[in-house]
């Protein structure tokens, strides 16, 4: 399976999962967003050598994955995107920081610990963002953004991009398949057709946006989508936020 098909499948999987029913699905998007951001701030505030503290921060993703019955496997595929640049940056640490922290055979150096901490932070950060999006449909997330006073124009654009991503990905996939069938054995798209191929897609996109605009105008679009709050902010949300804020602070400062 190539990257475009993988992206289409991943996107559809996220959409289906986000509309499911589970422990985290029933919470208000704002409470999940707040806990995720707080978790990330606490996680990233750990000292580069504080591997024990960072390890403990794994409590949140492990608990949420198991309690929420959330599929684990798709997240590991997403990890590869993030872990490669993190490894590239962190790989220098063992070479430059050779101060011995634990005298064993072989000795554990500061660079080794800081690199492992960096990787753990990378894994946990991806897991936290994944947990947020796999339990929150995009329209609910956008409604939460509007509640946080994010400008209507930005939220509308996010919703439209989200709506049209799959349409364009499928169109690009068809175009590429058609090209490869006519030019077999090529690694990529030849530079001779760079302009016409993407240019035609671009012109079709602009024409499509005209139709979208007319359709939206006919339905009374006035610059902002109406966001329906499907889940009111119940007491369980306040409990969820309070419990995890306290847990993260305990891990951080004790």
């Amino acid at each position: 399976m190539d990257s475009i098909d993988r992206a289409i499948n991943g996107f559809r999987m996220m959409e289906d999962e986000a509309r499911g029913e589970g422990l985290l699905h029933g919470l208000h998007p704002l409470s999940k967003f707040f806990v995720t951001v707080f978790y990330l701030v606490v996680l990233l505030s750990f000292n580069r050598y504080d591997m024990a503290g960072v390890l403990l921060m794994g409590v949140y993703p492990v608990l949420m994955f198991t309690l929420g019955d959330i599929p684990f496997k798709p997240m590991w595929r997403r990890m590869s995107l993030i872990l490669i640049p993190v490894c590239l940056v962190g790989i220098a640490n063992p070479f430059f920081d050779r101060s011995v922290i634990f005298p064993a055979h072989p000795a554990i150096t500061g660079g080794m610990v800081s690199m492992a901490t960096l990787l753990l932070k990378g894994v946990y950060a991806v897991a936290a963002a994944y947990l947020l999006m796999v339990t929150t449909p995009m329209e609910d997330f956008c409604a939460a953004l509007r509640k946080m006073k994010v400008p209507a124009v930005l939220v509308s654009v996010i919703m439209l991009i989200h709506r049209y991503i799959i349409v364009f990905l499928e169109e690009v996939s068809r175009m590429r398949t058609a090209y490869l069938m006519r030019a077999p054995g090529q690694k990529g798209i030849s530079f001779k057709v760079w302009g016409p191929m993407v240019g035609m897609l671009l012109l079709r996109s602009i024409d499509r946006s005209e139709s979208v605009y007319q359709g939206m105008t006919l339905r009374g679009f006035n610059g902002d989508f109406s966001h329906v709050e499907r889940r009111p902010f119940a007491v369980k949300n306040a409990v969820y936020v309070a419990v995890f804020v306290i847990v993260f602070l305990i891990i951080r400062y004790i």
């Binding site: 475009i4 992206a7 991943g10 996220m14 951001v37 990330l40 701030v41 996680l43 990233l44 997403r78 995107l81 993030i82 640049p85 993190v86 940056v89 962190g90 220098a92 640490n93 660079g111 960096l118 950060a125 991806v126 963002a129 997330f141 400008p151 124009v153 930005l154 509308s156 654009v157 996010i158 919703m159 439209l160 991009i161 709506r163 049209y164 991503i165 364009f168 990905l169 169109e171 990529g188 798209i189 030849s190 530079f191 760079w194 302009g195 191929m197 993407v198 240019g199 035609m200 897609l201 671009l202 012109l203 996109s205 602009i206 499509r208 005209e210 979208v212 605009y213 679009f221 610059g223």
Partner: protein, 330 residues
């Protein structure tokens, strides 16, 4: 070039969020005067287009590798810098949330590194400067190549600074920069070439879609003289102040020569070499970037060098420019 959360500290993430939020707020304010409602669908569809088009890999002739489109430059050229920046912000948010490309905490950094430079430096300063006298194939290619390369290099440099300021890596600044910039120079040129190919096609098929293109140079866009003034100021700042940060270590060529011969400079003992060295000694105003018989003068040497290069370029331009044909009275 997406940064992940693990590469930033909360302080750096906060500062970059603040910078990006200011840029987003400013863009929203600038757009409010325009016909925003009609632009929103175009922004959304163009965002999805950039997202999908970036999934296409274009083969780079003679290398066996591939590259993809420079999204922010393309969006600015078609939507204008303000709408382009907002669209790029939305694209980066979706990439981070749905595809794990980047991170929620690093989003401020990514908006700045990939959106701000691409839309405002590449798409506003450079694109509009080139288009202020109308669009031609040559100008579109030059603007795309320069815009993409400059914005990508600035983005890569920012990634280096943000990572080092976060205290994540033990990599020394110089090594990190030397690793990042050459790679992104090549990527920038490739992305610029792909972006140029698409924009040239658009110019030929539907020229009215390109933003910032003016038939009247005096009314729209930044004047060439303004761009020259900005570039001159940047050259003077770099030459005058940053020259103090210049490394005293030998450069790549000198290092290689030193490894082979034991010295960074090869002494020639032939008559021609001695004559050439004598001429250079008498004519060089600032030998080794300082005044003669003085250790000081690095700043002055930097500024003088910039002015001298500019003067030579100006003289060459004047010497080789096409003579304007005066209209004959009827």
């Amino acid at each position: 070039m997406h940064m992940s959360d693990a590469l930033v500290s909360p302080a750096v993430a906060g500062v970059m969020y603040a910078c990006s939020i200011i840029a987003v707020g400013f863009s929203v304010r600038k757009l409010k005067g325009a016909d925003l409602n009609s632009k929103i669908p175009l922004m959304g569809v163009m965002g999805a287009f950039v997202f999908a088009a970036q999934m296409l890999n274009f083969s780079i002739p003679g290398t066996g590798s591939s590259g993809h489109l420079c999204g922010s430059m393309m969006l600015s050229a078609l939507l204008g810098p303000w709408a382009g920046f907002l669209t790029m912000t939305a694209v980066l948010l979706i990439q981070c949330l749905l595809f794990a490309d980047g991170g929620l905490m690093a989003l401020g950094c990514n908006i700045w590194n990939m959106g701000f430079y691409g839309c405002f430096i590449g798409g506003y300063l450079i694109w509009r400067a080139f288009m202020s006298k109308g669009a031609t194939k040559g100008r579109i290619i030059a603007a795309s190549l320069i815009g993409s390369t400059v914005s990508l290099l600035l983005g890569a440099f920012s990634v280096t600074l943000e990572t080092l300021a976060s205290g994540i890596t033990d990599l020394p600044f110089a090594i990190f920069v030397r690793f990042m910039l050459p790679v992104h120079l090549v990527i920038g040129l490739v992305e610029g070439a792909i972006t140029a190919a698409v924009l040239v096609f658009v110019h030929e098929a539907r020229p009215e879609l390109l933003e910032g293109v003016s038939a009247d140079a005096s009314r729209q866009g930044m004047k060439t003289s303004s761009v020259v003034a900005i570039l001159l100021a940047a050259a003077l700042v770099l030459g005058g102040f940053m020259s103090h940060l210049a490394s005293s270590n030998p450069d790549g060529l000198e290092w290689s020569v030193e490894k082979v011969t034991g010295s960074t400079e090869i002494e020639g003992d032939g008559a021609v070499e001695k004559w050439a060295a004598g001429v250079q000694e008498h004519t060089a105003l600032l030998p080794d970037y300082a005044f003669k018989d003085s250790e000081n003068g690095t700043s002055f040497a930097g500024i003088a060098g910039s002015v001298a290069v500019l003067a030579v370029c100006l003289l060459m331009g004047l010497a080789f420019r096409k003579r304007r044909v005066k209209p004959q009275p009827e």
